[in-house]
């Protein structure tokens, strides 16, 4: 079953190019769905549309199998969310901040301390939230999202402002919630390594279009398919010519000539042929194409440096 399903979700702020174009998102129950894309790709707009923070212009949003517009409050009762920067009342303490939401969700009062413990803020006492560091505010915002034990967590770049230790803690906590309580997590990020370490499913958005959606394994398989073998020789032009002549899709990649990945035996054959033609082979290596390369291939450009920081 899909916890979140969007059909033909499109959005534009002004006339011209749409911010989102026919987004068909499928978030499976019990998954950790990494919603990945560079800054400005449309991640936050998608999440805001899913949560009803933006008025829907075109398309359909189904959450828990129900039309969001028609069952708004019923659906929202089971969702915890953190969109962009934390929403924290600066003059209140951490516990008071949670009490604000506890009254609305009508969850037991002891959930306040439990949620604070989950994010490591149980000892903040009477300290006002405006005195918190950005990381502490981010943790408190995550505690707000977790307070009512939601079945679905929608988190927009939740590790922003956290130190490396904090990032690991939040990641482990999300994994634990997913594994032990079956909470479905939709998490957006522009950081590829973060998603690689956490997600079971991935959606990649770029310029308002969903370029890929599937399991992380499917993405890794795609990675394997696009990996290449690099040859470093003493005569690159002749190597390129020879490999092309024998039917390989060879190309210049920096100082190497590369071909699509082939079997081990084929590599040995190619090496032998190069040597027989008097070309000195210095190095043969499998190019470790990472997911970033896949994004570049998917988006058809190399400007996705922000995916890996």
């Amino acid at each position: 079953m899909h916890i979140i399903e969007t059909n033909g979700l499109s959005h534009h702020f002004t006339k011209g190019r749409p911010i989102l174009d026919q987004i068909n998102l499928r978030v499976k129950e019990g998954s950790i769905y990494g919603f990945l894309g560079p800054n400005g790709a449309g991640k936050t707009t998608t999440l805001r549309l899913i949560l009803g923070l933006l008025r829907k212009q075109q398309g359909e949003v189904l959450i828990f199998g129900k039309n969001f517009g028609k069952h708004r409050t019923e659906v929202l009762r089971r969702i915890g969310s953190l969109i962009e920067s934390p929403s924290i009342y600066g003059q209140l303490t951490a516990a008071e901040n949670l009490a604000v939401w506890q009254k609305i969700y009508r969850c037991p009062k002891n959930r306040i301390q439990e949620a604070l413990r989950l994010v490591g803020l149980q000892d903040t006492g009477t300290k006002r939230a405006h005195q918190f560091s950005l990381g502490m505010k981010q943790r408190l915002a995550i505690a707000v999202a977790l307070l009512h034990e939601p079945a679905l967590l929608v988190l927009d770049e939740p590790t922003n402002g956290l130190d490396p230790g904090g990032i690991v803690e939040i990641r482990e906590m999300l994994k634990r919630l997913n594994r032990d309580l079956g909470v479905t997590v939709l998490i957006s990020s522009h950081l590829l390594p973060e998603i690689e370490k956490l997600a079971t499913d991935v959606g990649i958005i770029h310029r308002g279009q969903l370029l890929f959606e599937g399991t992380l394994e499917a993405l890794l398989e795609r990675q394997r398919q696009v990996s290449r073998i690099a040859f470093e020789t003493d005569d690159a032009p002749r190597t390129l010519q020879l490999l092309s002549d024998i039917g390989q899709a060879a190309r210049h990649d920096g100082s190497s000539i590369t071909i699509p990945a082939v079997e081990k035996q084929a590599i040995a054959d190619l090496n032998r042929q190069l040597v027989e033609q008097g070309i000195g082979v210095h190095r043969i290596a499998t190019m470790e194409d990472d997911l970033e390369t896949i994004f570049m291939n998917l988006t058809g450009e190399g400007g996705l440096g922000s995916l890996r920081e």
């Binding site: 923070l53 933006l54 969109i83 920067s85 934390p86 929403s87 003059q91 609305i104 969700y105």
Partner: protein
């Protein structure tokens, strides 16, 4: 039921807020000055304690300073500050992903403002009472007021001023819900307040929704202005309140971006 929980949540947000302090300090500010004056000049205030209109005189002194400037200004500030709590803390988006209807959110926030206004009036009246009995409290040779405390008069006076404040509450609420920048509601509020002070002498001054507090004060002093004689300003205040609140509600409901 939803409304009650939502109201409790909204009320909690005002804890330690500038608006809460404003209500507390603003409520006691003028009575405190009058109290000090009456204690310092006890030789004058002492004999007045037995006047049959002692309470009306003290209340009149307090309302004089309060109604023309401080009350409208306080209402402008408090309404804008409470509404802007969400913008200031970047929390509208979190409010709008909670399982509560938009009408409940709108009404509970407005209710908090109105309850704070009531709180302000209550504190102000307690302040007037304390200012009234202060000379007798501080000096043993001064008797407590001979006149029975006129609850009816205090209730009526406060009730009228409360009614006359409602258009300010509703318009400031409308503007504060719509604009992220705190200076916008504040600037418009102060501008309208100044316009109201200029307009009170105009025969159609009652068209300006911020004029009703000054008009009520002049009525209270037995010097009703031409405009306030022509119409019932309290009905006008209620009418403006209804129109502004409805407009505000519609703008809020149909807003495309909710945080």
């Amino acid at each position: 039921m939803n409304f009650i929980y939502s109201f409790q949540s909204e009320w909690l947000k005002t804890r330690r807020s500038l608006a809460a302090w404003l209500v507390l300090l603003g409520g006691f500010f003028i009575p405190a000055i009058i109290l000090v004056g009456r204690v310092v000049y006890h030789d004058k205030s002492g004999p007045e304690m037995q006047s049959p209109l002692m309470w009306e005189n003290v209340a009149g002194q307090c309302w004089q300073f309060m109604s023309l400037f401080l009350l409208p200004m306080g209402v402008i500030l408090a309404t804008s500050l409470i509404t802007q709590i969400e913008y200031k803390n970047n929390a509208w988006k979190q409010v709008h992903v909670t399982p509560q209807g938009l009408t409940v959110i709108f009404l509970s926030k407005l209710a908090v403002i109105l309850v704070m206004l009531l709180q302000f009036f209550l504190l102000f009246n307690i302040g007037i009472y304390l200012a009234g009995i202060a000379p007798a409290l501080f000096y043993g040779d001064i008797d407590y007021p001979g006149q029975t405390f006129p609850f009816d008069y205090f209730l009526k006076t406060s009730g009228r001023f409360l009614l006359d404040c409602l258009p300010i509450v509703a318009l400031q609420y409308l503007i504060s819900l719509h604009f992220k920048n705190f200076l916008v509601p504040l600037g418009i509020g102060i501008g309208l307040m100044v316009a109201a002070l200029i307009a009170v002498e105009w025969q159609y001054g009652y068209y300006v929704p911020y004029t009703y507090c000054p008009y009520n004060f002049f009525e209270m002093r037995g010097a009703a202005m031409k405009a306030s004689k022509a119409v019932n300003i309290h009905y006008w205040a209620l009418g403006y309140f209804a129109v502004f609140t409805m407009t505000s509600y519609l703008i809020y409901i149909f807003k495309k971006e909710k945080g």
